[in-house]
């Protein structure tokens, strides 16, 4: 569906260097990277605002470099949405259809259907200025969807939203992707959006596409420390291996892991969702790592509840809200945390 082949681009002092990737039909790819890494430049190149110095953009197999913006079969929603302030909700959504000079009745039908799909039918007569952030987001999505293009680009669409609205729109994006069978390229600095929404993740740092793969591939085998730190903020440590005792240690905290090189430093990651909390020590289990700690903090989160436990190092466990409430956890309580040694991801530094 979308092929970028060796795209290089310069804007001021910033270089986008030799970007190549393929997005198959129906896939949801999220490009993750810190602010200023060149994510939006990629989107602007796909829609035709930027002309690459070298390389070619292909959409549905057709070379796009010489195709003007208005003829590219791709929709986009920017972080700032760019709704037309002088038009009401209906006219914003109808804009791409009225440009095509579609009959008025057909425009009304299509706008009505898209508005119903995004649950904004009651907003159609409203002025853009009177909408909430989430409502504006839905209007921008409706406007991008109504021309029925096969490829949708999303530029940090959730970053300006409060937590609850963000969660709602994330679910909406997943529904749109599934029901409309769209191919989506989403850029964000937030790894959680990528985890929730994507089939594939690309990591871009300083204008270079450092890694691209399925969510599991990128999360379990980040290609280097830089990517590891970007995609995993929780439970990522540098630890030294003691081969005699089969232990990875950071200060006094040591965990069990087999088969690594003695005295080597490793980048270690323990996925928060793989850490189980218990009021009692677990001995009759295949989980070799069981530690006692004290709950340091509790953070409610889109995906559940993050419980941070202090035990020489600070580890984060991700629980469902139900488990959290059933266990009656609170800050300061002593707790055991358990994880299997094969849950520990180890990467050479």
């Amino acid at each position: 569906m979308l092929d970028l082949k060796n795209i290089s681009l310069k804007k001021g002092q910033f270089h986008l260097q030799d970007i190549s990737f393929t997005l198959s039909e129906g896939e949801y790819l999220t490009m993750v990277g810190p602010t200023g890494s060149g994510k939006t430049m990629i989107l602007d190149t796909v829609i035709g605002i930027n002309r690459p110095l070298s390389g070619e953009v292909f959409i549905q197999g057709k070379a796009m470099n010489r195709v003007p913006l208005q003829n590219r079969p791709v929709g986009i929603v920017y972080q700032n949405l760019y709704l037309f302030p002088h038009r009401n909700v209906f006219d914003n959504i109808a804009f791409p259809l009225s440009i095509k000079k579609m009959p008025k009745r057909l425009i009304e039908k299509k706008v009505g259907e898209t508005a119903a799909f995004l649950r904004i039918s009651d907003l159609l007569g409203r002025s853009i200025q009177n909408l909430s952030g989430g409502e504006k987001q839905r209007v921008a999505l409706a406007r991008a969807l109504v021309p029925e293009r096969p490829l949708l680009l999303l530029d940090e669409p959730l970053s300006a939203l409060d937590a609850i609205t963000k969660w709602e729109i994330m679910q909406e994006l997943r529904r749109i992707h599934r029901e409309k069978k769209l191919t989506v390229l989403h850029v964000t600095h937030d790894i959680e959006e990528a985890l929730f929404l994507s089939d594939k993740i690309g990591v871009i740092i300083q204008g270079e596409l450092k890694q691209m793969g399925t969510v599991e591939e990128v999360m379990n085998r980040p290609a280097g420390e830089e990517i590891g730190q970007l995609i995993r903020k929780d439970n990522l440590f540098k630890m030294v291996y003691d081969a005699q005792r089969s232990l990875l240690c950071k200060g006094d905290f040591c965990l069990y892991k087999e088969g690594l090189e003695d005295k080597q430093e490793y980048l270690v990651h323990i996925p928060p969702e793989d850490i189980i909390l218990s009021h009692e020590a677990v001995t009759a289990s295949s989980a070799r790592n069981c530690f006692k700690g004290r709950i340091h903090s509790v953070i409610y989160h889109n995906l559940g509840v993050k419980v941070s436990v202090e035990a020489g190092i600070r580890l984060v466990s991700l629980l469902t809200r139900r488990s959290f409430h059933e266990m009656e956890l609170e800050t300061g309580k002593e707790i055991y945390f358990i994880f299997k040694s094969n849950a520990v991801g180890v990467y050479g530094v």
């Binding site: 913006l69 929709g75 804009f95 440009i99 002025s127």
Partner: protein, 264 residues
């Protein structure tokens, strides 16, 4: 205490400014009487000059729209070598004495000079013609429209245009359907300024085209030939006409701004 003195000083200076500016205008406005109106409307030359002035400044503004809007859009959207020089050229006509502007125009649009000869080929002459009046008004006032429209275009994020194009609009359609409506209030403001400036122009017009006589030229002519008493009626009427049109246009502009920002 010091703050209070400063605040009082600001207010005192403000009142002085108001008195200095408002006194001559108010003095003229209160001079309006049934006798004065009758005098003005019985003099066909005065009536003709007032309508001609309004008409000529309207055409100068239309001409300004035709040439000034594309210029303003180019200057707002593009950075290029020499942009500062071009912006200075746009501003210069406002800076120098308008009688000098008249001389400058006569020196090139006069029938013996290059542009004068060129336009004469198409039957267009500028010396002592309505076209000359419109040209004089246009020359000294188009900067107001260009600068105001330029500021209006700058306020419209270029990504609104990109999004419009992404949704299928050509560059022209994006300009017409998104940029122009979003900046219309500033364009209208520039039009009002340009029209008002053209309406009041004397220096450039009197040198390039003494006839047909505009109201400002007629005021000068009546004053120099007959004195203050004979120049005052047309002056009073011109101030009223300008004021009424100015208020109506500002009201329309305000209504548009309110609509734009959705404060219904």
């Amino acid at each position: 205490m010091k703050n209070r003195v400063f605040s009082l000083m600001l207010k005192a200076l403000f009142v002085i400014l108001l008195i200095l500016v408002a006194a001559p205008i108010v003095n003229m406005l209160i001079s309006l009487s049934p006798g004065l109106i009758k005098y003005v409307f019985q003099d066909k030359d005065i009536v003709r000059s007032i309508f001609f002035t309004l008409e000529a400044s309207f055409y100068a503004t239309l001409f300004g729209l035709l040439l000034g809007i594309p210029a303003a859009y180019l200057l707002a959207r593009n950075d290029f070598w020499g942009k500062g020089i071009i912006e200075a050229i746009v501003d210069i006509p406002v800076m120098f004495p308008h009688s000098a502007a008249g001389i400058a125009l006569l020196s090139i649009y006069g029938s013996r000079f290059i542009f004068g000869k060129f336009f004469a080929l198409f039957g267009i002459e500028f010396v002592d013609t309505a076209m000359g009046v419109i040209l004089g008004m246009f020359f000294v006032s188009f900067s107001y429209l260009v600068n105001s429209a330029k500021e209006g275009f700058k306020k419209v994020d270029v990504h609104l245009e990109y999004v419009a194009q992404n949704l299928g609009a050509t560059r022209f359609q994006a300009f017409r359907r998104v940029v122009l409506p979003c900046s219309f209030s500033d364009i209208l403001s520039g039009m009002i300024m340009m029209w008002a400036r053209g309406l009041s122009e004397f220096g450039a017009v009197v040198i390039l085209a003494y006839h047909p006589m505009t109201a400002p030229v007629m005021i000068y002519e009546r004053f120099t030939s007959f004195g203050l008493q004979y120049s005052k009626p047309i002056s009073v009427i011109m101030i009223y006409v300008s004021l009424i049109i100015f208020i109506v246009l500002r009201f329309l502009q305000h209504k548009m701004k309110v609509k734009d920002t959705g404060k219904r």
